[in-house]
Symmetry: C2
Subunit: 228 residues, 2 copies
């Protein structure tokens, strides 16, 4: 892949949209371009974290497995997302795995290269700080949702999180199976199924050929903030 193409992809995405040419050039020069098949791990829980990735194309799932085997999906990553900063920064193990859910390409940046880039481009640190601030916000929202709400509002929240702003017909960013939705929203597959059935009776969502659509965004938002 050519440098210009890469630069184009990077510049398309929010985080790097305001990078100057020198920054982009450096990222591409120092980074290492890698392709993944569906199902491959871009990052593996428990590994030492000596690199940072920038997702260029394809979608990936960030998930962790607790010591009792329970699988938790933390997030779904889109192109432009920075992945693996945490372990790189604090020198610890990777807390979660990142798995390609479709063919995916990413730019890998080693610790040394990353430190050089941070040193040479002051804005990069500030950009990264913003990305991380955002992640903490998301994590706190997740904790709030898990703690304060029952399954209904919670599932509503996760569906809204997957919804695309101007999507025709309430399409979601990703068509997840009900088991995956369960791992994301923290409830059993069966319970997801029952909740979706109830909602589809009231035309709040539709469930056709395994794909969930949001039919009534407004009502779903209300449910997401309901008292129980």
């Amino acid at each position: 892949m050519k440098a210009e193409e890469l630069a184009g992809i990077l510049a398309e995405h929010s985080l790097f949209a305001d990078c100057d040419e020198a920054e982009l050039a450096d990222l591409i020069l120092r980074g290492h371009f890698v392709q993944y098949e569906k199902g491959d791990d871009l990052i593996m829980q428990g590994d030492p974290g000596n690199s940072l990735l920038i997702l260029l194309s394809g979608n990936a799932r960030t998930s962790m497995v607790a010591s009792n085997g329970h699988e938790i999906v933390l997030d779904y990553a889109e192109p432009g997302q920075v992945l693996g900063e945490i372990a790189l920064l604090d020198g610890g193990e990777r807390t979660a795995s990142v798995t390609a859910i479709e063919p995916t390409t990413a730019l890998t940046i080693t610790r040394v290269a990353f430190e050089d880039i941070l040193k040479n481009h002051k804005n990069m640190a500030l950009r990264l700080l913003k990305v991380m601030a955002n992640r903490i916000r998301t994590a706190n929202t997740m904790i709030e949702g898990d703690r304060a709400y029952t399954s209904g509002p919670r599932l509503a929240r996760y569906l809204l999180r997957l919804s695309v702003v101007g999507a025709e017909e309430g399409r979601l960013k990703l068509d997840l199976s009900q088991s995956e939705l369960g791992n994301f929203a923290g409830m059993s597959r069966e319970h997801i199924n029952r909740q979706l059935s109830t909602w589809s009776e009231d035309d709040i969502v539709s469930v056709e050929s395994g794909k969930v659509r949001i039919l009534n965004h407004a009502v779903l938002s209300n449910i997401a903030n309901a008292d129980s």
Copy 2:
């Protein structure tokens, strides 16, 4: 309070331990020293976030109230902790409140001063990045605990999080009431009470005059990682 004193306090705590003199001096010069009574809010959920705080003395509670009124304690902050970076960095509202649980002093740094300091001292950005990486790790661990474990292991985890490494007689960093422990561990006061009673029968913890002590750290750690 004199600059040397402040510098001493800052240098004592991990995050600022490796600050050079110029950095410390700048923090103190640009920062604004504030005292709080027990119960005062250092940061208030919903406010615009235009400053960052460094806790100098006293302990504080970081908590958020969900839209249905449910209160969630996210963390307890010790001296040396940086607070309020998230809203400062991304320009959003404060997601949580920080409340003094005893008389407390903090150094307040405005956005402008913060940006200057970041600009003039390259290491500050890296330091902050590490702090935030740590926060994300803690948040993820919290999500993992909430999702994957039942109340027993979960309470064990939160007790261990409050435990001091070399504490005599298993004393905790803070003596929380059972209701507060409930808000921290995400369970009802009554359930906390019953769980603690069970454990104290087996001499895993002791509960005397409202203070919880960890008697058997090893067993509690096992419980924290139990299968259910």
